[in-house]
Symmetry: C2
């Protein structure tokens, strides 16, 4: 079975190539096709949304992966990480909705380069919220390393246990 | 531009056709292809995951929609709802991870029928958590209607403000 789709739009301004800033410091602009512009109406009622995109520059898929190749982390299956090199390189970012200006949408927190094809935009609602999820030790350790930065850049993000 | 992919697997047991039970009362079984079985290893370290799937029985796309056709709700753009009739009918469900038994994965909360093609599985991590999101009034009203049921069936779900 083969499933085919067309992008609803593209990332017009995304993460800079130099990686000098984190995704939470960058306002990204998504430009949907004119025929879909009205589909954005009402999204301004939400503080957050999911952007689903096609990671067109993803590395070759790997079935198991040692996160960031750090020796202190365990090797895990690709479906237990967010590593882009996956069988279907679909990207999923939770973003802040900054401005809805059809056919454009300005968000913060998108982990995608300029030119990335966008497949869908979905509002973040209460069904997407698990405030106290369990994650593996290596994920918690990685989070702790950046905790202070996240508290500054994206204070809305993270668990409340 | 046309983007094509193959499912990584299928929903082997999903929501019953009679809709007699909510998605949070149903344990769903996802069967990934044998070649991807090892990709599930490590997912048991997470309490929750996202299932990304192809809503193969979605209705025709609509650009604007009055949620559940209820007259008290406003008409909104498709990208401001989770309505399945969208340009690319990609489904996204936050689920509880119950058991990881490669090539099978047993979850609770999946909003998909038996036979649904699965495109990706991603772990739910701290970057996906916004505990106090703003949503439109109609979304909050709809949530309140089922609040007691959610508290029983999926007490981990919902905002903490």
């Amino acid at each position: 079975m083969r499933i085919c789709m067309e992008p609803i739009g593209y990332v017009e301004e995304g993460l800079p190539e130099d990686r000098g800033r984190s995704r939470y410091q960058v306002d990204s602009v998504i430009r949907v096709k004119d025929k879909y512009a009205r589909g954005l109406e009402g999204l301004e009622g939400y503080s957050h949304a999911f952007i689903i995109y096609w990671m067109h520059r993803a590395p070759e898929p790997m079935l198991k992966w040692r996160p960031w190749r750090r020796t202190e982390y365990p090797e895990v299956g690709v479906f237990a990480t967010r590593f882009p090199g996956r069988p279907n390189p679909i990207g999923l970012s939770l973003v802040e909705v900054l401005r809805v200006e059809p056919p454009r949408l300005v968000v913060r927190g998108l982990d995608a380069w300029t030119g990335t094809p966008v497949l869908d935009v979905k509002p973040y609602d209460y069904h997407d919220v698990a405030c106290c999820p369990r994650v593996p030790g290596w994920v918690r350790d990685r989070w702790e390393e950046d905790r202070d930065r996240y508290a500054r850049e994206a204070p809305w993000m993270g668990p409340r246990c």
